[in-house]
Symmetry: D2
Subunit: 334 residues, 4 copies
């Protein structure tokens, strides 16, 4: 059960509500986000909503049978739209495009890609500076310096930045340079990181774990939301199956199911989803027709020279063709 409270509820009224719920043996979690104040109430007794609904300070009450609550569409049927500033929105009905290199490598590399984005009217850039790598001996990214490098070129061009955060201690140093924090697949159930991102007022893009279920992804989002951050989006990026011709199996089914179960925007990552450059554009298009709110993909001037993920990264021409194609079908998506 979710109780939406009036912002200016008196402590007296609040304690009456708490008291009433405790009598019913409900455990209550207070959630105060950027936008609203909620009580999440979990218990086994059947409560007649009307016995609570009249209490002072309550704006609305919703029964939510899912084990995740705040991210469920059972209580919030309108889809969430995320405002990144400068008239850039995610989940507003037009497909969002986020593109950029796997890793930030140099000022020159960033400049080239920023140029490509500007040319094609793309206003969100991805780019990793803290890179989770299977081997401890592999390139792990340029770190915070890479992020500043990215920021210096994106900021003046009104290009928003989405980049991965790997641990709690990085949040503070990154926050001024980031528009969307990305939680990577490997950290999809790193609950301490999720908790910490709940206390930050920046949008978060949460990638599904490599073998994460739909339910687990929604619970991970619930972790963040329940700590106070409503500005969330979910990302399907392929799952691990028995088939190993491709790096991952892009789970196109997940898009609609996520849109059905949750009010959060859903972004598709075709680059990781199939992991083979020449197939990325069609998976991107397919995912939009399956209902995704946007795509995030990897682009690099010379993919074959990229420090990571080159085999799944588009070059500028391929990227431009994809963008044009998306623009051509845009009106047919809904």
């Amino acid at each position: 059960m979710i109780i939406q409270l009036h912002k200016n509820i008196s402590t007296e009224n609040l304690s009456v509500i708490h008291h009433t719920l405790e009598k019913q043996k409900y455990s209550v979690t207070s959630v105060n986000t950027q936008f609203e104040n909620y009580l999440i109430c979990i218990g086994k007794n059947e409560i007649d909503i009307r016995s609570i609904g009249h209490l002072k300070g309550i704006k609305d009450i919703h029964r939510v049978s899912d084990s995740y609550k705040l991210v469920s569409r059972k209580w919030k049927t309108d889809y969430t739209k995320i405002d990144l500033g400068n008239n850039i929105y995610i989940g507003d009905g037009t497909p969002t495009i986020m593109a950029g290199p796997c890793s930030i490598e140099s000022e020159e590399q960033v400049a080239k890609i920023v140029g490509h984005l500007i040319k094609n009217n793309i206003s969100i850039m991805r780019g990793g500076v803290f890179k989770p790598r299977s081997s401890p001996y592999a390139f792990r990214g340029l770190g915070i310096d890479g992020l500043k490098m990215l920021y210096e070129q994106c900021k003046p061009n009104n290009i928003k930045i989405v980049t991965e955060v790997m641990q709690v201690s990085q949040i503070h140093e990154m926050i001024d340079y980031v528009d969307v924090f990305q939680v990577g697949a490997r950290n999809s159930q790193n609950y301490n990181l999720l908790d910490a991102l709940g206390e930050v007022d920046k949008p978060v893009l949460i990638k599904r774990g490599v073998s994460g279920t739909i339910e687990e992804l929604l619970h991970s989002a619930e972790y963040i939301f329940s700590k106070g951050n409503e500005r969330l989006m979910l990302c399907e990026r392929g799952i691990r199956t028995f088939e190993n011709i491709y790096r991952n199996t892009f789970d196109i089914n997940a898009i609609q199911v996520l849109k059905d179960k949750s009010h959060l925007p859903v972004i598709a990552d075709p680059s990781h989803g199939i992991g083979i450059r020449e197939y990325v554009p069609k998976i991107a298009l397919a995912s939009l027709f399956a209902g995704a709110d946007g795509v995030i993909y990897e682009v690099h001037e010379k993919p074959e020279e990229a420090l990571s993920d080159g085999q799944q990264t588009l070059n500028f021409m391929e990227s431009e063709l994809l963008i044009n194609k998306i623009n051509a079908v845009k009106s047919l998506l809904n």
Copy 2:
């Protein structure tokens, strides 16, 4: 190595070729299809193609490094187009739609669905009469009588029939009433059935096994082709993964990979691919944008009363909306 022979090759010239290959310790399989005569030659020695190419009776020679040969796109880069008669083609660049009930249930049911197909200009009907069911106590289909029932209503309307064959002994009784034999997911590696379908001059639609790899599907097609039947199409119908919110995980990646590795048409089955009615249309559209040559889906006047698979079957209105949508995007597919 694939050797294409002249149709009228003399036995003398043929035996020279065989002799030459045997000297190189190649095992040779003769394949005579509806259209061509081939020799499939497998061996470990590196052969200089020129040392054979000049032999009389040889039309062309192709090196194919894949372990499947005849279905590979390495030697036949043009895509295969299948002619079903009455100007109905599969793989001709326009999306094919095949629709119909999971099971044939009654003349009345067939009449209703045939009416729906005619109204919407759909010229291929699916419908099962031999049903593989997990439980021996479940409805197993109307059998050959159901097929005749289907035929009587489709034939006069120039509607082609695709239906599943489960065992070798059924082929003979079915053949006069069938336009496309379907091999179901559970029989995807039933090699005796595949062998037998290779000796028949009817198109075959081969479904990927529930956990069949891309390679296994191509090898299954190779079984049929190598027995003499070139008129084949492949079908992606969802795979088994850890995610169990949906019946299967539609593997959208497979479509492009199959189109890349093989010259055979690829059909998508969104009904089994996700298994939940309201999501079927978007998966259908997505699969066409991913490159599928067509879709096969389940439709029934009253899905909730269908004897099988009702939960994934569209009703007439949903089906019509999907057909209209496909027609609307048709021109943007390539």
Copy 3:
């Protein structure tokens, strides 16, 4: 619901029972096996068993909530013991060992392996003559001649033969030379084959499909049992997972779950279960400690020269060590 009938039930009494069940809208399947006559009754109404139990000709009635019935342990809590003759049993509390080559190759090969089995007191030999192979160009076994070759050497030595049957039409030619029909993983849901094996009075070993669920395996066994053959055993042989260091992932969990859900013996196939020779013996032992009634594994005089599966086949020394080890731990298994 399973009704056990008296063998000599009068047609009159039988029709009373049928009539009573029909009135309750139960569908009834008659099952007559080597040992018993049953009625399998499926319906939605709650029936008070006592309202039927007093009818003449009924020996016993059992409610079975599982969707598989006859193979369930809910009605038959004693485990099934299969008598192969010559005092050879499966499921009698001592671990059964079945060993032999992947494929029968020659009289000489068979002689060597029969010698190895005799030396080590192993009384069941495996060996394939109809081989399902991914590629149509691979060695497909010696066929019925290979089986006769096997029989001629096994029969005089009281060694029982387990070998795979791939299609209905093979049953008749094989039956005189076979002690246990094996259904391979790829045919685990070949329902026509299962039906046909239900009409034969020879034990059947059913392998789990490569991605077959426990439930599906039990339903496959139910197919055979419900056609009249009670002498069945189940075989765990590894499943397909994301891990591809080994050919399959041996599902040790399945053994106990199968023993819990069904009264049928469970055999472990460590050769396919891990697919790497040096690891086979430990998986064999582990599976016995997990509760398997026996093991089936591949052995060959010179595995590296075997025509198929050499990489997972033990040589005679490895096989002998395994047998000795099994004998050494035998008394600790229960």
Copy 4:
């Protein structure tokens, strides 16, 4: 390539080695552990080991073709034995037993379980105080107070403590009360945590991710080792597959493959591996026969009242039976 250095190598000699390797375009990582000093050298040039081996300060050089190096058995063929003090070892050839509750709940609960361990001569206790839970609203453990509670009762009884650490900031507060840090399945690729545990001189037990490959697990161990901590053990705890009758599919194959690829001890977790109480003991035994160096399982006085994982937790009687069984077969394990 791994170079083992003499402990007292001079900076001069060290720089000669570095210089020589740089000339060959090798990247070099210095690793200084509790026991040894190493250089990990990665490059593409083929180096003749003899051209380096004679340099001063080098104790030994090993070529390791695996992408993980220090945890590979290619250079260290002797298995690692971990000394926990008080004559308690892991990997010494006798099976280690670690048992305890899923979560630490109260002093009374701990006392009961410690009593059970003492009675049965078990000297390592597991017990979670920081609990990763799918839902943010579930019980997340008693935290550091729970750990102190555990310590107070284990320390005087010479019982060693293994407990999960979830994030870097917890290491410092936990370290005085912990004998073995456990990295949970969800944090198996939390590289920052792994890095931090490499800088600590306490043994670490690393659980395989829920869909982690063998290679990924070994790379996770390499992360820790390469930061300076050699005292590591690996834990197989079941993987995610299509089968959902059980919580996870215990991957018995993994045990031998890990023992073959790495010199680190391998512990089996049958509680998570199958997730159903009555089956846990047989999986425990099977895993020891498959080659595991020990088992870790969940035990509680009243599993049905446990705050978490009750369905897979043994009661005292079941636990005692298992321990007795392990003792009975101990001598047959190798």
